[in-house]
Amino acid sequence: MAKKVKRWLFNSWIIGFFTSCLFAYVVTNIFMDSIDSHEYDSQLGKFTYSANNYYRMRREGWATTFIGKYNTIGVKDIEKNKLPKIAIWGDSEVTAFPVPDASKVSQQVSDMFTKIGREIVGFGIAHSNNTLADYIVDLRKYELLIPNIVSHYIVLCNLNDDTLPYLKKGPGCASFEYSNGFRLINSDCRPPYQKVFHQLGKFNLRIVSYSFGEIYGYQMQLPWARKKESKKNHNTVDEKAIYDKLEAWDFIISELRKQSDRPIKIIYCPYRPAILGRNISFKDSQQKDKEFFASICLRYNIGFIDLTERFNYFFLNTMKFPRGFANSFPGRGHLNADGHRLVAEAIFSNEVHRNSLKQ
């Protein structure tokens, strides 16, 4: 009898474990982000987000994003659309997974043109961790794949990490390097463990990918892994110090200009205003870099729109930050719906102004 009871109890723990796994599966599919699933795109010659897929974001904000072909964000079948288009390039600020599709910059731009009776479509081309090097490599290809792009806008937030050699953290695609001169190196952007994550993504097995990541993260904290990492970082630091910032910018901006004769504009979205210490800081820490960068852009006929003033003005009027979400720290992280609106307004007014000059 006692054995029977023990066996039943033992079974209840095993059954309990499997039932809890089912519970965890459901929970992860409601309250956790989707898996980054990638597929090879033969036309772009690189790995992109799996096309015609929905991406769920919960860690920061609470939204679902539609990803079309060629890493296009929030718009279906953009390649079939014949209307004039504004391409908005960027990294995770433009994929904007934390912001619902309706509030994303691309959709807001389209809405603003619709309101004034103009049929111009805004659409995002983005992938997290992208840099200026990626836009340069891809710009020409996109002009061929997607018809009637009238102008390009590139959203930049960090003038160092997004524009200079080696500085971007995490796995990038194209890279900007320096070794006896500057050069851009293309790659197929294959993410690590792409096949595994693609299969896991198909079955929404976030629970497995998360566990895998946690084990990897824990292993990285072990003393020998830390030692290896610090050695690697030490080498990177050595590499960073050997080029001139202004020369690097001059090279990369000139390369950008060479890719297209259509209008290109850089929209700079600072990390200000933000809570720093006990106060709110309005002063952009990249002020000097911004001035140099803008002057180089001007030299190559690339527009530079600085949103620092707009962001500060918006905060002072509404006491709301253009960055941050209810479930993250206010003023930090990615652009929120208000931030996207401010960017959209800047693009819209710029386009209206440009068209009026043309007419």
């Binding site: 109890l9 809890s20 519970f23 106060n279």
Partner: protein, 467 residues
């Protein structure tokens, strides 16, 4: 090694396994002692010697008090024990605090005292109270003196309660050393408590901590509504953090076959501040009552002396918590609240009037108590007195600023409120997880999943472990 770290879980499994395998009682005690020392050494091996001092001194004093017949001799050994324990506590915990606080005053008298470069030894406040209670109990003949140094060393270094309690009494713990044995029932009950504690700490308290820390880092930036949400969140954070720790400590002990005293009993259901202290950090409240308040005369020497005793007890309770004037103020604040409550109670008794126990009155009493306790936590949490005052002024004014309502905090506030309502209506059984229910493993594994999936990215130590 914190109880919420993966390393501790591995350590606990190892120790529990060794205790299961070993059948000999003496060997089991050696295992526990070794585990306790290893646990402490993992933090800082240099402080093991400091831990050894009270073990040897109090064991010896306890034996001598027991053997001595002369009252003065007994008193002498008690004083030696008190001086050694309190002396270590004062030097390591309070010396720099008092020097820092009274430096200008000392300098005016020509004393140029420098602060010492000291680290606060882990769990010093807790094990000092534990060892003190032993010699005092032996002196008052409330407990027998411990005959075995090994037993006494196991009592002091018992690793689940070493860092932040519960402050176990020797009279409760030492007898268990004769018969303790891990069993399937203990294991099951222990795992249950441990997982629940882990859930409270890592899932609830640490995620609330993100919001609370964000608010307290720059309180003036936020508006009054955010301030109210933040102080409410801290009220829950500190409860879930500390009660989670207590559950984990009690659960770990249970896995090894020990029953440790409860530390919490739904403190936020209290309808008076006196009741709150009977439900919050019960082992500390009992310690202060038994070894401070009652020896001072308690409530037997008239109202004025009672109020004075309450104030002394609570000011020292505040100081015990931390070396900052905000903690002293917090203690004094609770002392004043207790005095008011006592005065109110006395007046009711003398007038022979009693407030009708209608549900409306009970809700009002609960609300006032909860509000007093929550506002008190502002002083407890604020790093400086001026910040506490800023928060207070923000709470009671229409301060404009950034509005930040953290959805997780709202969810926890609502869920906790619902659970407490069910508890007060005696309906919480529907949410309880009995040891032997068929669904308990499913619930525990699910809670463990939630912890694994949604725990805070950064390691956050237990709030009470810093005391």
């Amino acid at each position: 090694m914190s109880l919420s770290q993966f390393e501790f879980i591995l350590f606990l499994i190892l120790v529990a396994f060794a205790l299961f395998v070993q059948k000999n009682n003496a060997s089991r005690k050696w295992i526990l002692l070794t585990a306790g020392i290893c646990f402490y050494c993992y933090w800082d091996y240099r402080f093991c010697l400091l831990l050894a001092i009270p073990i040897f001194v109090d064991f010896y004093c306890g034996r001598m008090i027991h053997r001595s017949i002369e009252k003065t001799r007994r008193l002498l050994y008690l004083l030696i024990s008190i001086c050694v324990n309190v002396g270590i506590l004062v030097v390591f915990k309070y010396f720099n605090f008092f020097i820092g606080s009274f430096k200008p005053l000392l300098q005016t008298f020509g004393f140029n005292v420098r602060s010492l470069d000291l680290i606060l030894p882990l769990g010093i406040s807790f094990y000092t109270f534990k060892t003190l209670s032993y010699t005092i109990d032996v002196y008052y003949k409330k407990t027998e003196s411990c005959l075995s140094l090994l037993d006494y060393a196991v009592f002091v270094t018992f690793f689940p309660t070493l860092v932040a309690g519960p402050i176990s009494r020797s009279s409760h713990f030492l007898p268990q050393l004769k018969t303790f044995a891990p069993s399937y029932e203990n294991l099951r009950a222990g795992i249950r408590l441990f997982v629940i504690g882990l859930f409270k700490k890592l899932f609830i308290a640490d995620n609330l901590g993100f919001y609370v820390d964000g608010y307290y880092a720059s309180p003036l930036v936020f508006d009054s509504i955010t301030a109210w949400f933040a102080i409410l969140s801290y009220t829950l954070q500190i409860y879930f953090d500390f009660s989670g720790y207590s559950d984990m400590a009690i659960g770990s002990s249970r896995i090894m076959g020990f029953h440790i005293e409860d530390n919490f009993h739904f403190p936020y259901l209290s309808t008076s501040i006196e009741e709150f202290w009977r439900r919050w950090h019960i082992t500390l409240s009992n310690w202060i009552r038994d070894y401070l308040y009652i020896p001072l005369g308690g409530s037997r020497r008239g109202p004025a002396r009672t109020y004075l005793n309450l104030m002394i007890a609570m000011l020292l309770c505040g100081l015990w918590h931390g070396t900052a004037w905000t903690f002293v103020f917090w203690g004094g604040y609770h002392g004043v609240a207790l005095c008011f409550h006592r005065a109110f109670k006395n007046r009711q008794m003398s007038d022979n009037k009693r407030l009708a126990d209608s549900s409306g009155i009970s809700v009002l009493k609960w609300f006032v108590t909860f509000l007093v306790v929550s506002l008190g936590w502002v002083f407890f949490r604020s790093p400086k007195f001026e910040i506490a005052m800023q928060v207070m002024s923000q709470l009671f004014s229409t301060h404009s600023g950034v509005l930040w309502i953290y959805p997780f905090a709202v969810f926890i506030i609502i869920a906790t409120a619902l659970f407490h309502v069910l508890k007060s209506w005696d309906l919480s059984r529907i949410l309880e997880v009995p040891d032997d229910a068929w669904y308990t493993p499913t619930v525990l594994f699910s809670l463990a999943w939630l912890v694994f999936l949604f725990r805070s990215r950064e390691f956050t130590p237990f709030i009470y472990a810093q005391f």
